[in-house]
Structure formats: structure tokens, C-alpha cells
């Protein structure tokens, strides 16, 4: 297949990429270091993503979105992460973990209440799955929801929830009896609160906190789908989540390759540019090859993922492969830059810190290995 067609299947995909790339260069890059240092989300910039129509990227036109596909979502995350993965993580938690997941699980009445204001960015959203006692082991969650008249009463704590500090509305998974069910909880629900901001190594352009439910009462109309249908929603959304996380890693790797190629020519030691040395060539060439391989895999899988088309094996494989690539290429770039790579003055150390998250969040490497092995064995049963 034509290489370019893999990354930009249609003219609209290409126009999207150019728009996001222009916006990223002009508005995202200049603020990245400052918000990384402060460890807060740039809310004003986030709202601009809403104005550009990026927050409802995968929502059909009749829902007020752009009606684009998983490849488009991958493009947006890829381009934003070349400059600011932390900010992009807030975008992902909102537009993929909340808006996309919510849309495909909700009814018209619920869409009427929450969709417009989350697509515009007036309300920031997030998703709460992980708990202090249950991360990889999602099924082990202990947050409960009990029906009481025309309400549900929630008790429990979610943790490491991206956009927890700024968010108004969250898609929350809780147990009804022994089955997992999805609910919408917003700031106006009594008994709902969030913790302090949980400080972290990287991805500091986004925040995370706990979501705390203390006899939190939500209207019964905030049940998403059916009781016990939570796992179905979770699984349906996991693929695009993994692909966009993998795309963030590709964005980091792409940027780091660009930095290495430039620095390798500019920096002279012993009277010649450092890209004349075999050891440096290995970082640059291996970094480039790994980046291109990850990019091809991610985009190739993205073509086969949508609300009704699934590719679990592909999305697990894409994130499992791409996450370490982002981390390694960032490490290569730091090595090629020497001391300057370690300094805050340049973006590499920030990208290096950000990259590690992609081996943990949205499923650890080990979780992908476990899922893949199980799915492959099922596919090729002996």
C-alpha cells in the first residue's frame, strides 16, 4: 500500500493532520514546558480544542461531532504528542475515555444532557476504572452501586483518574451485585468529591486525582446501558483508547528522531559532526526504524477499529509495541544530546518522562502480553 495513504487515507485526514500540526506548533509547543513545570492542565488551551471540533472527533455529525474514525483520532494524538504528551493525555481522557465511550453507551436523553457541553469543552470529562486495590485486575473493583428508588447510591474510591481535578463529569464503573455497570457521575451529585492532585513524574500537563463516592446519590437515569453491561462498554472502547495511547508514543518518538537528526548534524566534537560516529548513527538509525515500524502498526490497526469493527489483538499489539518505542527513542535522543538532553531547557527530558506512562496507563505491558497470549491461543486453538 502507498505509505502516505496509510497515514492519511483521505484528503480530510490530511487536512486534519495539517490543522492539528499547525495548531500544535503555534499554540501547544510554546506552553508545554511551563505547564509541565507547574503540573497543571492548561484549561484555556483545552477549550480551544473544543472550538476546533477536536473533542468530538469520533462522534457522528448528528451527535454534534466531526464524524471521523479511529485513524483520525490517531492522527490528532500523534500530532499533539510531538509537542505536549501531557496535554494530549488530558485530551485523550476527555475525548476518548469520556466522550467517545459515553456516546456509544448512552441514550438520547443522556446525550441531551451531557454531549454538547463536553464536545464544546465547557465541561471537562474523564473516566474512572482504576481503584487503589484494583488496576490490572479490573474485575476486582470494590466500588458499589445500589439502586434506591429512582437513584443509585455509590460507595468507593477510584484513583489515578486523569482530569480528576478539572473534570465536571465522569464515566464511572461500579459493581451492582457482582457485575460491573457503567454510570455517569457529575459534580452536582451529592456525596461525590475528588482528592488533591496526585503529583507525578511525567504527563504533567494533565492532572489526576481520586474520585471519592460517599453515599453518592445519582439519578437512576445516569445508568449507562443496562445493569451488568459495564464490561461490554469497557471492552468496546478499549481498542481506540489503546490505539490513541500508542499514537502518543509514536508522536514522542517522531519528535525525538527529528531532534536527533538535527543535533547529530549541528553538534561537533573532535572536529566533526557527531553523526559521523557509528555509535551515534546507531541511535539515529535504530530510533528511526523503530519509530516507523510502530507508526505503521498503529495506523494499520486503526483502519480496522470502529464502533462496530473490532481488532483486540491488533490494538493490544500496537500499544505493546509502540509504548517501549517512545520510551527508547526518547532515551536515544537524550543520549545523542548529551548533557543538554538532560536539561529542562530542551524538550527531550520532558518527552522522556512522559513516554514511560504509556507502558503503564490504559493497560500495562504485562496486561497486553497476558491479553494477547490468551486471544492468540483462542484464535489458534489446538
Amino acid at each position: 500500500m502507498n505509505y502516505e495513504k496509510l497515514f492519511n487515507p483521505t484528503d480530510e485526514h490530511q487536512a486534519l493532520r495539517e490543522m492539528v500540526a499547525d495548531f500544535t506548533r503555534a499554540e501547544v509547543e510554546p506552553q508545554a514546558a511551563e505547564f509541565d513545570a507547574k503540573g497543571v492542565l492548561n484549561v484555556d488551551l483545552f477549550r480551544k480544542l473544543g472550538e476546533l471540533g477536536l473533542l468530538g472527533i469520533t462522534i457522528p455529525e448528528e451527535g454534534g461531532g466531526a464524524g471521523m474514525d479511529a485513524v483520525a483520532a490517531v492522527i490528532a494524538h500523534h500530532e499533539l504528542s510531538k509537542s505536549d504528551p501531557g496535554f494530549c493525555l488530558a485530551y485523550l481522557a476527555h475525548s476518548m475515555l469520556f466522550v467517545n465511550n459515553f456516546y456509544w453507551a448512552s441514550n438520547d436523553e443522556q446525550r441531551g444532557r451531557y454531549l454538547e457541553k463536553t464536545i464544546s469543552g465547557e465541561w471537562i470529562g474523564g473516566m474512572g476504572m482504576t481503584e487503589p486495590g484494583a488496576g490490572t485486575d479490573v474485575i476486582g473493583m470494590t466500588t458499589t452501586a445500589v439502586k434506591d428508588g429512582d437513584s443509585y447510591v455509590l460507595n468507593g474510591t477510584k484513583t489515578y483518574i486523569t482530569n480528576g481535578c478539572e473534570g465536571y463529569v465522569f464515566l464511572v464503573y461500579a459493581k451492582t451485585g457482582d457485575r460491573i455497570t457503567a454510570f455517569i457521575v457529575d459534580r452536582d451529585c451529592p456525596g461525590f468529591s475528588t482528592s488533591h492532585h496526585i503529583d507525578k513524574l511525567g504527563m504533567r500537563g494533565s492532572t489526576m486525582s481520586e474520585l471519592i463516592f460517599e453515599d453518592c446519590r445519582i439519578p437512576a437515569s445516569n445508568l449507562l446501558g443496562k445493569e451488568g453491561g459495564g464490561l461490554t462498554h469497557m471492552m468496546r472502547n478499549l481498542e481506540i483508547e489503546r490505539l490513541t495511547l500508542a499514537a502518543m508514543s509514536v508522536g514522542i518518538a517522531d519528535r525525538c528522531v527529528e531532534i536527533m537528526v538535527r543535533h547529530g548534524q549541528e553538534r561537533h566534537t573532535f572536529g566533526q559532526p557527531i553523526n559521523q560516529y557509528g555509535q551515534i548513527q546507531r541511535y539515529i538509525a535504530d530510533g528511526y526504524a523503530m519509530t516507523e515500524a510502530a507508526k505503521c502498526l498503529v495506523y494499520n490497526v486503526a483502519r480496522d477499529v470502529g464502533p462496530d469493527v473490532h481488532n483486540r489483538i491488533g490494538s493490544d499489539a500496537a500499544k505493546l509495541f509502540a509504548a517501549p518505542v517512545g520510551k527508547m527513542v526518547a532515551d536515544y535522543a537524550m543520549q545523542v544530546m548529551g548533557g543538554s538532553g538532560y536539561c529542562r531547557e530542551y524538550p527531550v527530558e520532558r518527552l522522556w518522562r512522559d513516554a514511560k506512562l504509556l507502558e503503564i496507563g490504559g493497560g500495562t505491558l504485562e496486561a497486553h502480553q497476558k491479553n494477547l497470549t490468551k486471544d492468540l491461543a483462542r484464535l489458534h486453538r489446538i
Binding site: 487536512a15 471540533g53 477536536l54 466531526a66
Partner: protein, 256 residues
């Protein structure tokens, strides 16, 4: 208001331009194309004018049939309502201006037509002026601020020495846009999707009743800029080197 805008597809501002072996054209392989920068200000001003005064925006382009891609993402996705693409390749700027004027006349009913002050590839600064002359309309070049009231316009332009000149006139007019007139917006994603359904007419000169005529001038040859001479290192301690630098700047470079 009925608003027209002329927009040319040119190599991207940061594309690496190389002169082709024939010495008369540039190498187009691998070059990214887009709407010429100053024409982007023209499109933006057209959209702002429509937002303020209502109406319709039609864009006009003389260029290759493949220009439809850039017109969709760079004009229709931003807010231009319809595009007319005249697929001809006239030999000189006058030919291009004649086709644009014919297309504008064929469409008819315009209050104002915006153009860039020049295009970033040829930098001839001719099209806006010639289109205005062919149409017999008022014309202001290098506009940095603009207002409309009824059938009157008031355009500000920068003169030398930072003096600002305000030119008033009666519509219809051709306004050539300068850097600083506005800030170009980003295409919104839903509009990128809607742009694919907006009308884009690809027409030949015959369909608009236009004729580029025989070229009255032609490009002789293109020469790349001479390679930059190597830098010169000045030896010695800081004080000596600084003195030597000042002497060279004054006596050799004659810039002091």
C-alpha cells in the same frame, strides 16, 4: 454582501525550492502545496466580512486541476461557500488576471473581491491591480485594516516610514491584503468534513467566457541565489577581536 476572493495554490512557505535542470521552472517533486500566505489573509478577511455583513463568499483560482484538494482544506473548510477553479495555465500574469476577471464577471454581483498583495512563489504584485483595472473597479494595495459602511469602504495601508494612509472609496472594489490585516483561523474539524460537500466548479476558459490571450512577457531563466561564502573567524583576545570586527563591518562590509 457578495464577496469574492482570489487564491493561488503555491509551494508551501517552508518548502525547499530548487531550480530545475531546464533553468526555467522549479522542481515540484516532493514539494508540499498550499494556499499562498497572503491569499490566506484574503480568505480570512472575506470570512470576517461575511460574519459582519452577511452574504456569500466565492473563491477564484487559476491553476492545475489538482488544486481542488488545497481549495477544500484551505478555503472551503474555513468558510468560503463555493470555489471556481479555472484549469488553465496562462503564460504571464496578465493572462491569469484576465481569466480571474472573466470568472468574476461571469459570476457577477460582487461588492468586493479580496486578493493577497502578491503570491509567495512569483512575487509579481500584479494580479490584484490588473484584475481591478480589467473590471474597472476601485483598488487599494497592501491593506492592513478595512471597514465597510453601505456602499463605501475605508482601507488603511502602510506607507514608507511607518506612515499610515487611509483610502476611502465606493464599492465594488478589489482589496489586496497585507500581513497584519488579520490573523488566519484554523479550519474546524466539522467544517473540514463539510467542505467535501461544498460546490467546487472546475472549468476551462471557455466556460467563463475568458481568454488569457497571448503572453506579453515570459520567463527567461531562473537562477538560484549564489552560495553563501564561508564565514570568517577573527583571531585574538576579546578586545582585539572586537576592534577587528568593528573595522571589518565599517571598512569592508560598509554596514556601519
Amino acid at each position: 454582501m457578495k464577496i469574492g476572493v482570489c487564491a493561488k495554490i503555491t509551494p508551501d512557505a517552508d518548502a525547499r525550492i530548487k531550480v530545475a535542470a531546464d533553468g526555467q521552472s522549479i522542481v515540484l517533486d516532493g514539494v508540499k502545496f498550499g494556499i499562498s500566505d497572503y491569499d490566506e489573509y484574503a480568505i480570512e478577511e472575506a470570512i470576517r466580512t461575511k460574519e459582519k455583513h452577511g452574504g456569500e463568499i466565492v473563491s477564484f483560482t487559476v491553476g492545475d486541476a489538482s488544486a481542488d484538494k488545497q481549495l477544500r482544506s484551505g478555503a472551503l473548510a474555513l468558510g468560503v461557500d463555493r470555489s471556481v477553479l479555472v484549469t488553465e495555465n496562462p503564460g504571464d500574469p496578465l493572462g491569469i488576471a484576465k481569466l480571474l476577471a472573466a470568472a468574476i464577471q461571469k459570476e457577477g454581483g460582487f461588492d468586493v473581491v479580496f486578493t493577497g498583495k502578491s503570491t509567495i512563489d512569483q512575487q509579481n504584485f500584479q494580479i490584484g491591480t490588473m484584475v481591478a483595472e480589467l473590471l474597472g473597479w476601485a483598488h487599494v494595495t497592501q491593506v492592513t485594516a478595512l471597514e465597510f459602511e453601505g456602499n463605501q469602504f475605508k482601507a488603511t495601508r502602510n506607507m514608507d516610514a511607518g506612515i499610515r494612509q487611509v483610502v476611502a472609496g465606493t464599492l465594488p472594489a478589489v482589496i489586496s491584503c497585507e500581513d497584519g490585516l488579520n490573523t488566519v483561523r484554523y479550519a474546524k474539524l466539522p467544517d473540514i468534513m463539510k467542505a467535501k460537500k461544498k460546490p467546487l466548479d472546475s472549468v476551462g476558459a471557455g466556460a467563463i467566457g475568458g481568454d488569457a490571450g497571448a503572453a506579453r512577457s515570459s520567463v527567461g531563466n531562473l537562477a538560484p541565489p549564489p552560495a553563501r561564502p564561508a564565514g570568517r573567524m577573527i583571531e585574538g583576545d576579546a578586545a582585539t577581536a572586537a576592534k577587528e570586527l568593528v573595522r571589518l563591518l565599517r571598512d569592508e562590509a560598509k554596514v556601519l
